[in-house]
Amino acid sequence: MEPVLSLHNVSKIYQEGRHEVIAVDNASLEVYPGEVILILGPSGSGKTTLLSIMGCLLSPSRGEVRVDGRDVSGLSDGELSSLRSRQIGFVFQSFNLLDFLSVHKNVEVALNLANIGGRAAREHATRILEQVQLGHRMDFLPKRLSGGEKQRVSVARALATNPRLLLADEPTGNLDSATGRIVIELLTGLARQQGSAVVIVTHDPRIMDIADRVFYLEDGRLSEGARMPAQDVSSRAFVTQ
């Protein structure tokens, strides 16, 4: 089976004055369809940079990134945008909903960007919002929603185009633990249903049990960790291989 996402010896180096800052150091990773990957790491470990590279929002200084077998290094801005709109879904810590659009239109706009318009887009947006139990909030503006509802809209938007890869950045970061749990289960459940691969970047070890594989990121270095059994989540233990 071909990986949906593969990173091969990827590094990202920033120049700050005369000093080089290595945000991601020689990271390698393969993510397969239907798989849920968790990347744990403290603040400043390079999680956001790594996620930006995975989401084709940032080019690596070194190494190779392949999405669905395609090397993304030579792609134009238009091709990368097209790749993001059709193949990659994003869920953010701060939800990043467009505050001037209703809940329904927030989802519909993602479909529009993937060149799905008109009635098909409207109906599909309605369907996916019903799947995340927001059928009764479709005409609301995001400011009228609770944090959990906002994140569910974000999940609906990310999954609306049936992407091959879903990237989630601290999806539970702004939610209480119960709501966070509901959202993360919804997210992974729907993604698995669609056969999408999921990469969740977080510093919250409470959600480790939902992952098929767990990675740890420290000082830009990525290493695969042992999966914790579901019943041990409360221990928040983490063991690197």
């Binding site: 996620l51 097209s82 953010f92 990043n96 505050d99 706009v109 960007l113 970061g173």
Partner: protein
């Protein structure tokens, strides 16, 4: 497809309202002043437009209605005898410090009541042919707006008492109304001298006006003749060079103010929405799509502002015309031209801010 530009604009209706009002203000500066400019130009040559002359004869060196000639009776006679001429009439215009009722400035038009080439137009009361009567005068209703004039009233012009035999509407050169007198009455006003400022010539159909112009030039070294269209254009040009060009400066200021408003509004709106543009980029919007949103936003604001500004300009024109008698002219070509130029300028102006949105780093979406 959802129009993101429209959604952004309609989301904040107060901001949209303020933008439209600001733009409308700038558009009024442009459109109303242009309207006044065209209105002034048009009224400044209203005599030429209402005359049925094909040619205007003037002294050599004179070429517009603002530089009156001193033509003798022999010039009129020559014109009447020239081949192809159906009719020729003399015309005098006397302005300067002439006051009617010792208070209201007027321009006196001395016409031959039997000449069909130029007669008062827009006669509201009375009969223009009564100008043949001794000491008769035709006044415009603009002349004595605050002091209504009726048929049969006696008015004083340059010390002479005259009787109003007709009242016209909108016979004026911008703010100076015309009063009409016969040539005989004009002689009394002018100390009895028999001369003309212009000779109007009507040619028979199929007569080549160039032949008449050449014949005039060869027979009279000191005279020149112009086609009516040339005379009209030269008169407009003279008016512009005499100071009407100032309106151009006002219009230019309006364009700059309008452009600044569009640019500042679009810039502020874009900067406030920079994170939204980053979100859109992250979820798959191309740079072209972002550019399109910015341009559509600026175009929509400009069109709405232009519509409101045009309506306000026409309203202002109606008010000014009603209370001050100053009428603007709003030719469709000029309005469409102004709209096209403004749209183009708005697009250019919006590019400054849209460039920011296009080049926004989409990774900011990961920052809380």
């Amino acid at each position: 497809m959802i129009s993101i530009a429209r959604e952004i604009l309609l989301h904040d209706k107060v901001r949209l309202g303020i933008t439209i009002v600001s733009l409308a203000f700038a558009i009024v500066m442009i459109v109303y002043n242009l309207g006044m400019f065209f209105g002034t130009l048009s009224e400044s040559v209203s005599l030429i437009d209402h005359a049925r002359a094909d040619l205007w004869v003037l002294e050599e060196g004179h070429r517009d209605i603002y530089s009156p000639s001193l033509l003798s009776l022999s010039t009129l006679r020559w014109a009447r005898r020239a081949p192809g001429v159906v009719q020729a009439c003399g015309l005098n215009l006397l302005g300067g410090n002439l006051l009617i009722q010792n208070n209201h400035p007027v321009m006196v038009v001395a016409v031959d009541p039997d000449c069909a080439l130029l007669q008062p137009w827009g006669v509201r009361l009375g009969d223009a042919s009564d100008l043949r009567r001794k000491d008769a005068i035709i006044v415009d209703d603009y002349t004595l707006r605050s002091d209504p004039t009726y048929l049969g009233d006696t008015v004083e012009l340059n010390g002479l008492e005259m009787q109003v035999v007709a009242v016209t509407h909108n016979n004026k050169s911008f703010t100076t109304p015309y009063v009409y007198v016969s040539r005989q009455t004009f002689a009394s006003l002018n100390g009895g001298e028999e001369h003309f400022n212009y000779v109007m010539v009507q040619l028979a159909p199929m007569t080549n006006p160039e032949d008449t112009i050449h014949r005039l030039a060869s027979d009279n070294d000191d005279l020149a003749a112009f086609l009516s269209g040339e005379f009209r254009s030269a008169s407009m040009l003279a008016l512009v060079s005499q100071g009407l060009g100032v309106i151009f400066v006002v219009v230019a200021v309006g364009v700059v103010v309008g452009l600044l408003i569009i640019t500042m509004t679009t810039y502020t709106a874009t900067m406030e929405r920079l994170r939204d543009f980053a979100i859109l980029k992250a979820i798959g919007a191309t740079r072209r799509k972002i550019l399109g949103i910015g341009v559509e936003q600026a175009a929509a604001e400009t069109l709405l502002g232009f519509g409101a500004g045009l309506a306000a300009s026409l309203g202002l024109n109606y008010i000014v015309e009603t209370f001050a008698g100053l009428r603007g002219s709003f030719p469709a070509v000029a309005i469409l031209g102004a709209l096209a130029i403004l749209l183009a300028l708005a697009m250019l102006g919006s590019l400054i801010s849209v460039r920011k949105a296009v080049s926004v780093d989409p990774t900011v979406v990961f920052r809380a």
